[in-house]
């Protein structure tokens, strides 16, 4: 399907624009990565354009048409309050993506910082930071998030905060292990020998080299964050009804799973598709960001 493009060694004869195109091509030719990216871009568009795309308001109840089956008016039917399932799914995408984005931003920032400092500093600083990190890691992520939400009350902010706290240690652990492999490399020693300060070496030389594996982990943790939010909402501990979230919709539909299976199923399908897309993206990035892994595992899988 696609031949491996060898890294170009005679770059000065090739215009930059073509190099950029070639690199982009390498990413886009990866089937898993491009499929995952396509789904996520589509979802983001749907989430952003929700007010214009959704045929009905997310909490707009049509009490004459409760638990309606799919029709021209309600493409996926309605729930027990007569709310349009499709519209609620579209609005729910917003919450899910918002949670995913915020959790990624928070856990990437703090996780990278904690991991990088621990890995670079070494010694007792590393010991103490990593013992604390391991204690947090020892809790199952979802349980930790559950406990935090239970303690702080359920709101969108608290869900994001709780899930971030639960997944930051994972990023930190990965970051630290990558930084440890980079720290002894000669260019780090060389930049110290030439008078760079520790913080500069860390920011300019260690972090950029450590990012690829961390980006992969973060993509996958975005998927877990979406699952966690859906799980919390399903249990009634997440974003509170009547706000439309995919977890809430599954929970609303579970009482009618035999008569109106489409309610829960469609929301479940949304979650599954998003999570799979994020995982494909993560796998794809793993394959393409690491030159040694560039064997297109995704191709065989599909």
């Amino acid at each position: 399907m696609s031949a491996e493009v060898l890294p170009d060694t005679t770059a000065d004869t090739v215009p930059r624009a073509r190099i950029v195109r070639r690199i982009l091509g390498r990413y886009l030719r990866h089937p898993g990565l491009s499929l995952g990216l396509f789904v996520l871009v589509l979802l983001s568009f749907v989430a952003i354009a929700a007010p214009w795309l959704a045929p009905h308001g997310p909490t707009e109840a049509d009490l004459m048409n409760t638990l309606a089956h799919p029709s021209g008016e309600y493409l996926l039917g309605t729930d027990q309050y007569g709310r349009d399932i499709l519209s609620r799914l579209i609005w729910g995408a917003r919450i899910s993506l918002e949670v995913a984005l915020a959790v990624v931003a928070l856990s990437l920032t703090f996780g990278s910082a904690i991991g990088a400092i621990a890995g670079y500093a070494g010694g007792w600083v590393e010991r103490i930071m990593m013992v604390c990190n391991d204690i947090l890691l020892a809790f199952p992520g979802f349980l930790l998030a559950l406990a935090l939400v239970a303690a702080r009350g359920s709101s969108l902010e608290n869900v994001i905060l709780a899930v971030s706290i639960a997944y930051t240690p994972r990023v930190a652990a990965v970051m630290r292990s990558v930084v440890i492999t980079i720290r002894p490399r000669p260019f780090i020693e060389a930049s110290r020998a030439i008078g760079m300060s520790s913080s500069r070496v860390l920011l300019r030389h260690v972090l950029p080299n450590a990012l690829p594996p961390v980006i992969v982990v973060t993509t996958v943790s975005a998927a877990t964050a979406i699952l966690a939010e859906a799980g919390l909402s399903f249990l009634g501990l997440g974003v509170q009804p009547p706000t439309a979230t995919w977890g809430n919709i599954i929970s609303d539909g579970q009482g009618f799973i035999t008569s109106n299976p489409l309610i829960s199923l469609s929301a479940g399908l949304c979650i599954a598709v998003t999570v799979i897309a994020l995982n494909l993206l993560g796998d794809g990035l793993r394959d393409t960001l690491d030159p040694q892994m560039r064997r297109y595992t995704g191709e065989r899988m599909l």
Binding site: P186, F187, E189, A190, S191, I194, G195, S197, N209
Partner: protein, 335 residues
Amino acid sequence: MSDGAVLAVRDLRTVFPSESGPVTTVDKVSFSLGAGETLAVVGESGSGKTMTFLSVLRLVPPPGRVIGGEVLFEGADIATLSASAMRSIRGAGIAMVFQDPLTALNPVFTIGDQMLEVIRAHTGMGPRQARVRALEVLERVHIPAPAQRIDDYPHQLSGGMRQRVLIAMAIALRPKVLIADEPTTALDVTVQAQILELLAELRSELGMGMVLITHDLGLVAKYADRVAVMYAGRVVETSPMARGFGQSRHPYTRSLFRSIPRLDLPADQPLTAIAGQPPDLARLPAGCAFEPRCFLGNGREDCRNERPALSPTTSDRHLSACPHWRTLLDAEPGA
């Protein structure tokens, strides 16, 4: 000894803790380096050559620690400077070129980015001005078409080119001392000569003191003014290069010189090796560290009991840590 020296080191000691007690990797090392002079530091792997200069720059990797000695840079002791004052010495005062040019550059930035970073951090120049300076130094290390190369990534350059870039970065701030740590071991033989010629040229143009850490005695003979031979963390002999190795006054230096493969001998002749193993730094003998491997005849009482100090031989420019150096001169003229 340190009159007018740009870098003078006295009794430098660096230890690493280990399970079998502290290991002294740099043991009371003293040397001095004048402006425009090339000092070669030779010795086998693990003899403390690199560690000595990492100690000078205070870059000893933990858990290692410098526990004593003076490092005088332009007459001022830098062993007691604050961390940030030390940073401004590194690169701008004393620069180091590392062994392996293939890995001493950050793969994710262009060489221009990396050079600009160093120049700007030390001089506070604006990006444009720093770029001009970077192009100048690249030109100076004879990189063809620097304007085209400056935006290349390290992987786009050959090993020799990368070493030139590293040298360019090291001299960009016109340091007074350039430490070249085995600058050519990772390079092809033909490129090696080019790099060393370049270093010699830069040294005389910029009037830098240069330290050439190496285990290639051929290079030493050709490029160094003075040579310091290290064994087991100590300097065992320092001599002006003009005398050549044939005149060396320490049995270790002699053995080292004899173990160079020779092209003028029949190919089936076995190579000469130094008998025995380098000593375990955690369990050094009480006497001379080289005594167990010494060809002068083992078992001399004084060699075993007392560690000989570096002391003048026939001239006070030629020091040896072997009390029996006269025997060496009588034994064989030249090697």
